[in-house]
Symmetry: C2
DNA sequence: ACCTGAACACCGTTCAAGT
DNA sequence: ACCTGAACACCGTTCAAGT
């Protein structure tokens, strides 16, 4: 058994969360996984919060940054989609990122380089700032889908679906019109990738339109 | 002391979370607040998850739905902003909503009526479906700001700010250009309301453009 | 029908010791 | 320098009893 170190602790924590979900990650369970007593972990991470920070950094560093192509729009798009594939590999990560009270170094680095793409593409600092806010979590490849569908919400049985359709006719209409596979409410049964790119492209188109017209915010 | 009931339990839970944050809401603490033994709660809510469901419903029912005005764009806008004021009253709510694995009745009702505004405005079921996804959590008045700023992330001291500026020059530039009050990284020191409306309007503009041109998704 | 007490199987973390 | 043991102050929840 090699000596414990921060690297090994983080690696094991990510593996544990990947496998059993973030709710299965406790200091005690992690220690057990490493054949060590819980308190041994505290020599390598100050506490659980710092452990989570380290896990976020590890995941964000996995994101490949494709070389910026010809135009900024495409470069941003490719980066965001590449972040998305990483976040899909670690389904717990977006929740942990959201729960952080401050950005970790790897995230700052990522944001800094993403801002660079916008700026090099000719967007003003003002517009870039608002664009980054508008993208929000989408800049890291995840969108807020209103509900946590990662757990696989059970599809309602036929009877429940009938009374649903009665009580929420407009939702039922949409589900009928667009449910490719599952056929649940908004959030299930759709092509997640399509929805993600749809919104992303609307925003990028909007940024480009504002850039082209030399838009600036009042306060900027 | 009146008899306990679901109503009183939910009310106390919301009050507790409003006051002390969601992390201060435990079944035991809530019971204490109600001068009752923890197990007494379980006659009125099945478990903590169902308690949280009930709290979400209570909050969502607080949202006032302004009468739909002349055009759908304005009606959606006003509804979303009215949801936003409620969610700002209960700073814990958006996290709890995100953590639900399925929509609660009040949320379904809200979504159903919001879909109605789009449909009555002349958007196809297909476009409405994608629009609802694109709005995501924004439909309920909150956006994913990448980090939890509700805790009031400490502004870095001058020294830290200097090394930050060295390591992350583009972030520093943006912070300098746009920090009205605080002057922190993306997420702090900006006019949250402006950022929220900026992104909302970009999306609504995009929807309108697609509607006007009779856009439809390939699969739709 | 509603509330209680005691218990179970967990948490994160401190503190004082071991090697 | 690194790991351990025992303990503290918490969790959500079950189960069998009380009134």
């Amino acid at each position: 058994m090699t000596r414990l170190n921060r690297e090994r602790v983080l690696r094991a924590a990510v593996a544990l969360a990947d496998e059993g979900g973030i709710e299965s990650l406790s200091m005690r369970r992690l220690a057990q996984e490493l054949d060590v007593v819980p308190m041994a972990l505290y020599k390598h991470v100050a506490n659980k919060e710092q452990l989570l920070d380290g896990m976020v950094d590890a995941v964000v560093r996995e994101i490949e940054l494709p070389q910026p192509g010809s135009d900024w729009r495409d470069a941003v798009r490719r980066r965001v989609l590449s972040a998305r594939t990483v976040l899909l590999r670690h389904r717990w990560a977006y929740r942990v990122i959201e729960s952080r009270t401050g950005p970790t170094p790897a995230v700052l680095e990522y944001l800094d380089s993403m801002i660079g793409v916008f700026r090099d593409g000719g967007l003003s600092a003002d517009l870039t700032h608002h664009a980054m806010h508008a993208l929000g979590s989408r800049v890291l490849g995840f969108s807020q889908e209103l509900f946590d569908t990662s757990g696989g919400a059970a599809a309602p049985d036929a009877g429940a679906a009938d009374t649903m359709a009665e009580r929420y006719p407009r939702i039922a209409e949409l589900a009928g019109a667009a449910a490719h596979d599952g056929g649940s409410v908004v959030g299930g049964g759709c092509d997640d990738r399509f929805e993600f790119e749809f919104a992303l492209d609307l925003l990028l188109d909007g940024f480009e339109r504002l850039r082209a017209r030399g838009w600036t915010s009042a306060a900027g």
